[in-house]
Amino acid sequence: MTKILFERVKKTYPGGHTVIEGLDLTIDPGSFTILVGPSGCGKTTLLRMIANLETITGGKIFIGDRLINGLPPGECEIAMVFQNYAIYPHMTVRKNIEFGLKNVGIPKGERERRVASVLSQVGLGECIDVKPSALSGGQRQRVALARAISKDPKVFLMDEPLSNLDAKLRSQMRSELIELHRQLKSTFVFVTHDQVEAMTMGDCIVVMSDGRIMQKGSPKEVYSDPKNLFVATFIGDPGMNLLKLDNGSTAGFRPRKTRLFKPAAKEAAGFAVRGTVTVKEVLGGDFLYLLDTPIGRFKVKTEDEFDFDEPVLMQLAGENLYYFDKDEQRIYDASAIGGCRARLAEAVAHGR
């Protein structure tokens, strides 16, 4: 179980463009850490720096207590699974896995043992002498996974490995990866742009934007306790509803944590706003509504069914409200929260 430490890490590309600057991060040993964020946020760059596939322009990266700056990729004791699998198309599955093992001088008997063992672990025991062209996408991904496992690395790096798979296969592979992590107990670092994937798989989420870390925490934390507006809107499907207040701060609430009632219902505690359903999406067991209210348009996710154009009452409980200041940071101070609450109450009253 190895921890990964980033100390004031900087990455500048040869053209002069700096994508990451002064980044500090600790990836906990044995964790399944997910780096998540929109395209271009630097998550893949960060991942590749752990493998030294991108040169570390500034700062230090430690795998365990070993400084890895400047080491060749193969000597960092990591294994990587790429988005496009990157298995050698001209070698059989067996040779694909043996290639790296041979290069570190692992003797033949041990190699054969490992190949057989990892292939059965990923369920490809019969494909041992097959060439990649005869395999499906999912199978090729498993070969890439088997190759990674065979190296017995301290850290598993995965760069959006599931993006090229179809939906069903993707969710199957997700559970398999979680199970694998449980078995191997190594540190997994997984990159994805899909926050649903991130939330279901990881035990530690690192949300990134523009080369900066916006928040690091458990899925529960980043969901229920976002530290800034970016995390609040990025995490959650759909993201948080936002309402600008007149003192420059923003109030937010999750679509899931909002309740809808028929207009005649007695109002519960908290804020209540009247609105009409303008869009209704059926999502299996839930419904996603877009409500038109006097204070703005908001999304609500609930099991109750309402009709298109139906007038409803939207209710927000106090504890489900979040407040962010004008720098998009979360407000924790009780009196500041009180102030925002008051402004919100005014806005709601106004809208009636």
Partner: protein
């Protein structure tokens, strides 16, 4: 109307008209084949005749005499075939190997490495593609003469290790190898040599075969450079064996023996062509279209 599109479907007039056009096509095809096969046929039949029958006018289409063994034996010894054949083999092989050794690493560098002046240097290669040998042959002759390489194997091989077309094609092919595969190899602790020989080359066999074909055919058939860079028959190649059977303007030509020699020269290539004709044609198309 004659079918002028790319599909196999026949579209157009039906009935007797189609038969007529089909017939005309057939005639045209046969005519073409005749025009192309005939010189070869003529060459082969002449090579089995006796000299007297060979030079008879009007000529005989079907040989009446049969002196094949003598003709071929004469061609073989008079032209010293073994000597020239050996030279051809050695020179072609050395040139092929040398060219691959120069081309492949350079292509790898241009395709997958970043370095200063890369653009300029690649332009250098492209520029070289435009310089025809017909301009450079005299200076090359002078240069090789000065370093004493004239009339040696070196002169016919080393200057031809460079093929800018080869570098161009292989670079383009190497560029197609996904960078992720090379990244994976790096995390697999592969050495640079392993990447070149174990990944870049195997993944691009067709291109490598193509440029090798060009080189082999070109070198085997080469006349111009061998003429320029040699002064005796010491290292000359097979085309010269045949040429030597030809006494241009000097007495009477033993056509039957010359043709026998020519058959010997052409036969290996034809055999290879018959077996590998699809690949060979593909190679030339690839070279052209790209």
């Amino acid at each position: 109307m004659k079918q002028i599109d790319g599909t196999v479907e026949v579209q157009g007039p039906g009935g007797w008209k189609r038969t007529l056009f089909g017939g005309l096509s057939l005639v045209l095809l046969l005519l073409l084949i005749l025009v192309y096969v005939f010189p070869f046929y003529w060459m082969v039949t002449t090579s089995v005749k006796t000299f007297e029958e060979a030079i008879r006018f009007p000529p005989t289409f079907i040989p009446r005499t049969f002196d094949m063994i003598n003709n071929y034996r004469a061609a073989w010894t008079m032209a010293n075939f073994p000597h020239f054949a050996r030279n051809s083999l050695v020179i072609t092989l050395i040139t092929l190997v040398g060219q691959l050794l120069v081309t492949i690493p350079a292509a790898y560098a241009f395709a997958k490495k970043e370095f200063k002046f890369k653009g300029f240097l690649f332009g250098f290669i492209l520029f070289d593609m435009m310089i025809p040998g017909q301009v450079t042959f005299i200076p090359i002759y002078v240069f090789l003469s000065n370093i004493g390489w004239l009339d040696t194997l070196w002169a016919l091989t080393v200057p031809f290790f460079i093929s800018s077309f080869g570098i161009f094609f292989v670079t383009q092919a190497f560029k197609q190898v996904p960078n992720e595969v090379i990244d994976a190899a790096r995390t697999d602790n592969a050495t640079e040599l392993q990447i070149i020989l174990g990944i870049m080359v195997p993944m691009n066999k067709p291109v490598i075969v193509t440029i090798s074909l060009f080189t082999v055919i070109g070198k085997w058939n080469d006349y111009f450079w061998t003429l320029i860079l040699t002064t005796s028959s010491k290292v000359r190649t097979l085309p010269f064996a045949v040429k030597s059977l030809f006494a241009l303007g000097d007495g009477i030509n033993m056509w039957n023996i010359s043709m026998a020699g020519n058959v010997l020269l052409v036969a290996p290539l034809l055999i290879i062509y018959i077996f590998a004709n699809k690949q060979i044609k593909q190679a030339f198309v690839y070279g052209g279209i790209k």
